[in-house]
Structures are given as C-alpha cells and as structure tokens.
C-alpha cells in the first residue's frame, strides 16, 4: 500500500476547502451588502439633515420708537405687552428696508415684500428682547434675525430661481435681494444652536422649529425609566436567579418575562393609555406617563440581561463566599453583584437606548401634541414630570407629516441628533464595560 504524501492534496480536502471558501465569500458578501445599505442610509440622512444645523440670519437695525411700543411712557410691562408681534412686524419691516437702503442695494420689491423676507418668528424675538430689556425703547438696536424658510432654503440649495418663480411664498427677486445682502455681509448662514434649544414652531415657520422641548421631554422620560426600571429590574432578576425556589411557578414566570420582551411596543402604549391615563388619570402627554410606559417596555430587557450577567459569575465565587460563612444575601451583594455589574450596566444602557428611540407607545399616550413651552421638571398643578412634552422620535414623526419642505430638513436633522445620542449612549456602555470588566 503506497503511502500518501502530505504534499499532495486529495480530492476530498479540495472539495472541503472549496466549500469553505464559498462560505467565507458568502459571509463577506453579506457584510458588504449590510455595509452598503448602512452607508446609503447614513448618506441620505446626513445629506438631507446636516443642513438643519445651519441657519440663515440677517443683521438688521430695528428702530424701536417709544410711540409705538410703550404707550404709557413709563415702561409699564402690562402696557408694553399689549403690543403684539403684529405691531412689531411693521417695525421690523422698516428696519430691514432701512438696512437694505443703507447698504446701497436696489430691488424691485415692495417694502411689504422686503419685510416678508424675515421669518415670522423674528417679530417674537424682538418683542421678547424688548420686554426683557425695556430700556432699549427709543433706540435702534441691531438684531440678528431669522430669515424666512424659502430664503434659508435658497442658501441651502433647496430653492432655486426656477422654483422660486413657481412658488407662491417667494419670488426670484426676493432671492436676488437676499443674495445681494449676503454679498454685502448682511446675511449669513451660521451654526444653528437654536435647532437644539428652540421649541417646535408652527407649519409656516420651519426655519424656527427646534428640538428643545423634545430633548427635554426625552430626558425626563429617560430619568423616569432609569430610576424605575433599573432597581426594579435588577432586584427582580436577583430574586429570580438567586433566591426563588426552582419550581413550576418560577419557570412560568421566566418564560413570560422572555415573552414580554418580544411584545410589540404599541401594546405597551395601549396599556399605558388604559391604566395610567384613563384609570389613574395622570396627565396625558406628560413625560411621567411616557416614562412609565417605557419602563414597562424596558424592564424585560433589563431583567434578561441582568440574569445573563448573574449567571456568568462562576459558581466558585459563590462557593468561596458561602464557605467563609457569608449568608446568601451577603454573597450576592458583596461578590456576585459587583462582578455582574458590567453586564448589568451594559444591558441597562442598551435598554435605555432602545427606549429613547421608541415612538409607537408614545403616540398612543398622546405625546404627539404640539408643545411650545419647555416643560418644567416639577410644577405644583401638574406634579413631577407632569407637564406636557414631546419626545425626539415623536418629533421626527411629527415633522415628516408637515407640508412645508423646510420640515424635511428638520426631520432629518432630528434623526441625526437621535443617532448621535444613541451613539453616545452605546459608547458609554462600551466604556463602562471595559472599565469595570474584571478577570476572575
């Protein structure tokens, strides 16, 4: 019988190697497809949304005559407040017309049209400023004022001269004047902090719409989820893993918890509606209710990941603790829990990140409302986290429903913000896990 040399490859090995190569190729192909899809998604989101972080402002010198603004003459706030934004609008118009003339720019537009180049929000900005600083009345103050949505769109490339000709809200002449003003240094597009801090704005003012309220609302809800879901979830998990007797009841509970993790989130919304709003009569659309609903949703995730973390602690540590004379509680809290902490933290943060992005249940409990005021964390009549608010993903949903194309950019910008928060939370999870990971 001749010996087979190691240097010759037989047919079976060749076949096996070939199928391995094919398998690797498939795997690689799948990853490439996934990467490509990811790149496409990110590119489309970033390209439409990144412009939301820039905003066009005009530097306008606005006259603030006393005659118009303060009929009392003594800076009486009540009297001053009687002057609404409509009153300020004409002042703004004078201001921008004057500024244009001072710059030596010519246009065929009427004064009214020039005035319309400013955002409707601008009047509110000036009014707020005057009410806050009554002593500026009688002077002319230079303001950096928001320009309207179409002009903003022009500088971002969305609106062109051709589309302006067909557009009812703007005209090529407006755009031209805006361009001239920009060339003269009166108009610039700068970073838009207001996007993150300003509250939502109505349909006519996409340029003024911001995420301020949504971010606060999401923040309050995350606090509620963290404060409730983490202790309850960890405690339940510890009980199930360490103390519960191993009988049929415990098995049933475990199976059900796993099933709860798979329940569609909108069901939690219905649950929240029925119990928290109808039965317990909490305020609709409050971060408290939103937080409670999200807590219910996140609990199974936290319980499952905590159990996995507890299970991964080797029994030798428990034995060692018991052998030295520690009670069950002591062995769990002094030894098992610290070792399981990285896993628990990771699970919690992932649960929170999931909760941050949930929309369906929040829609059902009414967080779709258009909220203009920043919700306070605590107010006497609404209670803790009781004031109406909205949430980031809900805001995205909201904006995509609006007609004005300026909101498309806003929605994409909000998605980018959401993604950044999720990235930060995941990075924190990874950092914490690395930092606390111990070898045993």
């Amino acid at each position: 019988m001749t010996q087979k040399s190691l240097l010759t490859v037989d047919a079976r090995t060749k076949k096996r190697n070939a199928s391995e190569k094919r398998f690797k190729a498939f795997g690689l192909g799948a990853i490439i497809v996934a990467m490509v899809a990811l790149v496409i998604l990110l590119t489309s989101v970033v390209s439409t949304g990144s412009s939301a972080f820039k905003q066009t402002y005009a530097t306008v010198s606005v006259p603030l005559p006393e005659a118009k603004l303060d009929k009392s003459g003594v800076r009486d706030l009540d009297v001053m407040k009687k002057v609404t934004t409509i009153g300020y609008t004409s002042l703004l118009r004078d201001g921008i017309v004057g500024t244009v003339a001072d710059a030596g720019l010519t246009t065929t537009l009427s004064a009214k049209d020039i005035g319309k180049m400013l955002s409707k929000e601008a009047a509110a900005t000036v009014r707020d400023h005057v009410l806050a600083n009554p002593d500026v009345i009688g002077t002319s103050v230079e303001f950096s004022l928001l320009m309207n949505g179409r002009i903003d769109g022009y500088f971002k490339g969305r609106v062109t001269m051709e589309s302006a000709a067909l557009d009812g809200n703007t005209s090529p002449e407006e755009l031209q004047l805006a361009q001239d003003m920009a060339n003269a240094g009166l108009v610039e597009t700068k970073f838009n902090w207001a996007f993150l801090t300003a509250p939502d704005a109505s349909d006519q003012r996409p340029e003024a719409a911001g995420l301020g309220v949504a971010i606060l609302g999401s923040l309050y809800m995350m606090i509620v989820v963290l404060v409730l879901a983490l202790p309850i979830g960890v405690a339940a998990s510890i009980y199930l893993e360490e103390f519960a007797p191993k009988n049929r009841w415990t098995d049933i509970i475990e199976v059900n918890i796993s099933n709860l993790a798979a329940v569609p989130s909108i069901v939690y919304g219905i649950l929240g509606l029925a119990i928290f709003i109808n039965f317990m009569e909490f305020n609709q659309s409050s971060p408290l209710v939103g937080g409670l609903v999200l807590t219910l949703m996140t609990l199974p995730t936290i319980i499952i990941s905590t159990r996995a973390a507890l299970k991964s602690v080797p029994p030798s540590i428990r034995d060692a603790a018991l052998g030295v004379g520690a009670s069950k509680m002591q062995s769990v809290f002094h030894h098992v829990l610290p070792l399981a902490a990285p896993g628990i933290l990771t699970g919690t943060i992932i649960g929170l990140a999931q909760a941050l992005g949930e929309t369906a249940p929040l829609l059902l409990i009414g967080m779709v409302a258009f909220v203009r005021e920043y919700p306070a964390a605590y107010s006497p009549d609404a209670g803790l986290f009781g004031e109406a608010a909205t949430a980031l993903p809900v805001q995205v949903f909201n904006w995509t429903q609006r007609a004005d194309p300026g909101f498309v950019e806003r929605a994409s910008g909000a998605i980018i913000t959401l993604l950044i928060f999720l990235l930060i939370m995941n990075a924190i999870a990874i950092f914490l896990r690395r930092k606390f990971e111990r070898r045993w």
Partner: protein, 253 residues
C-alpha cells in the same frame, strides 16, 4: 477517652433518587489530619460537604443521620449554617480567591462575622492568617494588589489564609492540591502539617501518596460506603479489607 471533634452516625445522603452516601459512621479527632480517599464518585467530597452543610445549597440533596461537632448536632433546626461555616472552614479544589485585594480576601470573613473591633485588630488578624498560611513574606508588600494576580500555589495559600482567618476549629480541604504543580503541592502539604497543630483537618484527596504523607488517619470510601477507617500507617501497609488493599495497590479504579 477524649471526645471526637466530629462524629458521624448513620449518615445517608440522597440526590433526588440516587443514594450517594450509605450509612457512614466515622469519628474524626481534633488536632489531627484525616484523609478521605477513594475512587471517583465514591462520595468522599459529598460527605465532606455535609460537615459544613454546603450541601444545603443544592436543592435536590437530602441529608439524614447524625453529624456532631463537639457533641452538638449540626443539622439541628436551631443551627444557622452561616454560623457553622465560620467554625468550619473550607478550601476548594480550584483556588478561588475573591476578585479583590489580598488584604480584602483575608479580611472579608472576620469582617462579616464581626471578629474585629477596629482596623488595627483586623490588620492583625490578616497578618496572622497570612503568616500561618506561609504567605506573609510574599504578600506583605502587596497587600492591596488583586488576589487573582498571584500564582496558582500562592492563590491556594491565600484561600487557606482566608479560611483560617475566621478562627475555625475544623478545616475541610477538598482536593486542595489537584490544580497545583508539585512544588506548590509540597508547600501546601508542609502547611497542612503545621495547621494540624491548631485545627482538626479533613482532606479529600485523589493521591494516595498525599494521603499517606499528610494524614494520621485515613478513611477509604467506595460506592458511597465507608469501607475502612484507621491509622494511615496500617491502611497503607496492611489494610484489613480486601477492597482497600485493591484500591491502594492500584487494582481497582
């Protein structure tokens, strides 16, 4: 005649339906090393774990019979297993120091049992235990380094120090050297020889040479029963039971 430190009468252990320990009677003396030998699965570790009630943590395990330490029945309803385990220390097969510093490893037991009133006393207990475990010289400069950073033999000595820190009266050792190299094994055996002057030591071992070297009395377990118990000398030169003879000569597994 002095009372035996640990005395067992008619001990039976069942794991669900399996009868693991069948009617064991044995008396273990104080200030002496007793070795439990026998083939795998003969019940020696199971019986060892009955002495400090570690089998309580296993739900399907039922222990019946009488086990007394200093005349007191340790399975009495009034006895708290946690307190028992402060009196009966245990060292396991694989060194399992807590993932804490060396100091904290040794100090944990005394702390939870309230054996020291202040830091100075705790320091003293830690030093004494580490000295007795022949680890002080190697550890004194790095008391706050993690216990898991030591070598295998050092870790096992740390576990021994941890077990004796609670001032137990009995020390149970379940194959303490099986994960160690020969030099570390010799060091631990030397240590055991020293420890027996203060404690009653019961050691389960797979190595007959180790049992012969280290113990004064040996008990041979086979298929859950205690086949023979006597002076180590006699067991290894002229045992009474043919099963014992067969096992120690390598005639049965």
């Amino acid at each position: 005649m002095t009372q035996a430190k640990i005395s067992a009468q008619g001990v039976q252990v069942h794991y669900a339906d399996t009868h693991a320990i069948k009617d064991v009677n044995v008396e273990i003396a104080d200030k002496e090393v007793t070795a439990f030998i026998g083939p795998s699965g003969c019940g020696k570790s199971t019986f060892l774990r009955c002495i400090n009630r570690m089998n309580d943590t296993i739900d399907i395990c039922r222990v019946t019979g009488d086990i007394r330490i200093d005349g007191e029945d340790i399975y009495d309803a009034k006895v708290d297993p946690v307190q028992l385990r402060a009196k009966v220390g245990m060292v396991f097969q694989k060194p399992n120091p807590f993932p804490k510093s060396i100091y904290d490893n040794v100090a944990y037991g005394p702390k939870i049992h309230g054996l020291s009133r202040n830091k100075a006393e705790l320091d003293e207990i830690v030093e004494k235990s580490l000295r007795k475990a022949a680890l002080w010289n190697e550890a004194k400069d790095r008391l706050h380094a993690p216990g898991t950073g030591l070598s295998g033999g050092q870790q096992q000595r740390l576990c021994i120090a941890r077990a004796i820190a609670t001032a137990p009266e009995v020390l149970l050792m379940d194959e303490p050297c099986s994960a160690l190299d020969p030099i570390a094994t010799a060091q631990v055996e030397e240590l055991i020889d020293d420890l027996r002057q203060s404690f009653s030591v019961v050691i389960v071992t797979h190595s007959m040479q180790q049992a012969a070297r280290v113990s004064q009395k040996t008990a041979f377990f086979h298929l859950g029963s205690l086949v023979e118990f006597g002076d180590t000398n006699k067991i290894f030169t002229n045992p009474e039971d043919p099963r014992t003879e067969s096992y120690i000569s390598g005639r049965i597994g």
